[in-house]
Symmetry: C2
Subunit: 247 residues, 2 copies
């Protein structure tokens, strides 16, 4: 699918102009970073979803150090875009926790925190999604793939963006038959109890703050230091997270 | 080493009574949870360290949603204990980010967040430590083992506590010759780029907020929901993080 076709089909869904632009920019970025499962393949998927085309997220509570948003039926992409733009427009004096209730699908989390880091904020974002990962001992799926993305701005102009899902493969790879459903387990092989523990911790953290529906939790803060340039030098040219993203 | 011997040797270091009690309680808990590398074995290690026996952490900034602490030469255990007690004494209205500068050693992170969850707060804590993990492609050590611990309170009385280090083995295991130095790499085998990405993200997050010296970053929030009992039911008796901790 071309970008032009994706735009036409999103417009065909009845989404308003700004919503089309937000989704298209996200899908184009995912394609560029070779995260095909989060790219244009989502357009036909959205065409199968029943959602309110005109819904807009609401900011239900706003203090300098805490905000609560309600997706209010809008696609998660639009909720996270609204949060990113509101945060960049009015950054916290020091730090802010943002809870997003009813925020699905959330897309590539690194995409959202990179924008915050490009706006000179440190950011960490996690989000829940349908339960797909079982316990390492087996049984029913207990948690989403529950990625966490962390972005740190740099005076050299390029943030470091770590974006890690707790699954050994992605749901998108299963849908595309690049991986079997049995491979969608916590990553880490013999040490998959570690990725499972992180998936459980993130699942319950988001659920405790945002409720049963899929949600997201963002922490943003103003950095006091600029550690990235020295870290890049220490890495001696080895590829750091976000230069090409970790799926 | 017995608890009594550990107490006598900590007193012999010239630590004041409260400091001895804090360290001893942490080491005893680590022994009970079979985290020997964080238990009494740390007493002879502390005896080799040059540190200010009477130093106390300072709270340099305090707002409802943000605090900054300075270890001020005190052992990291004492810094984190002071932060936990101050947080329980005065929890945030909604959420708080706490930055701890000069906070080393930080001990078992799950130990600190468990106390916050037993006090009805959701908590996530990470901390940096000496660089020990190399890039998956090799080269010099770039990050600490940089654990992250997440605790969620539960109306059933027992929090879930996920506490995951990004190393395949611990530095303590290397010291105890239970593992070789070559095994101290990001966990995950073929997918160790994921644990490495998390270690880098956490390293730079803490460094951007707390500076070059080892530090810690804590997020605490009041939960709005109680997801743990239903999650335990879904897990059908399988062991969840924190029932026996993940090293």
């Amino acid at each position: 699918m071309t970008s032009e076709e994706a735009r036409a089909r999103l417009e065909g869904l009845g989404l308003e102009e700004n919503a089309v632009a937000v989704l298209l920019a996200h899908f184009e970025d995912a394609e560029r970073r070779d995260k095909k499962g989060h790219g244009f393949s989502r357009v036909p998927w959205l065409e199968t979803l029943d959602f309110d085309r005109g819904a807009r997220p609401l900011r239900a509570a706003a203090e300098d150090g805490f905000e609560r948003w309600d997706g209010n039926g809008a696609l998660g992409y639009l909720v996270l875009d609204a949060i990113v733009r509101a945060t960049l427009a009015q950054p916290p004096a020091h730090a802010r926790l943002v809870v997003a209730e009813r925020c699905f699908p959330s897309g590539v989390l690194g995409y959202w925190v990179r924008q915050l880091a490009e706006g000179a904020l440190v950011a960490a974002l996690t989000a829940t999604s349908p339960r797909r990962l079982p316990h390492p001992d087996g049984g029913p799926p207990l948690t989403g793939t529950n990625p966490i993305a962390i972005a740190i701005p740099s005076s050299d102009g390029t943030p470091v963006v770590a974006d890690v899902s707790m699954g050994a493969v992605t749901h998108g790879q299963v849908l595309a038959e690049e991986a079997s459903a049995e491979e969608l387990v916590p990553f880490g092989g013999e040490q998959s109890h570690k990725a499972f523990a992180l998936a459980v911790g993130l699942e319950l953290l988001v659920s405790a703050l945002a409720g049963d529906a899929h949600g997201a939790v963002l922490v943003v803060a103003r950095p006091e230091h600029d550690p990235v340039p020295a870290f890049r030098a220490l890495a001696e040219g080895r590829r750091l997270p976000g230069a090409q993203s970790v799926s």
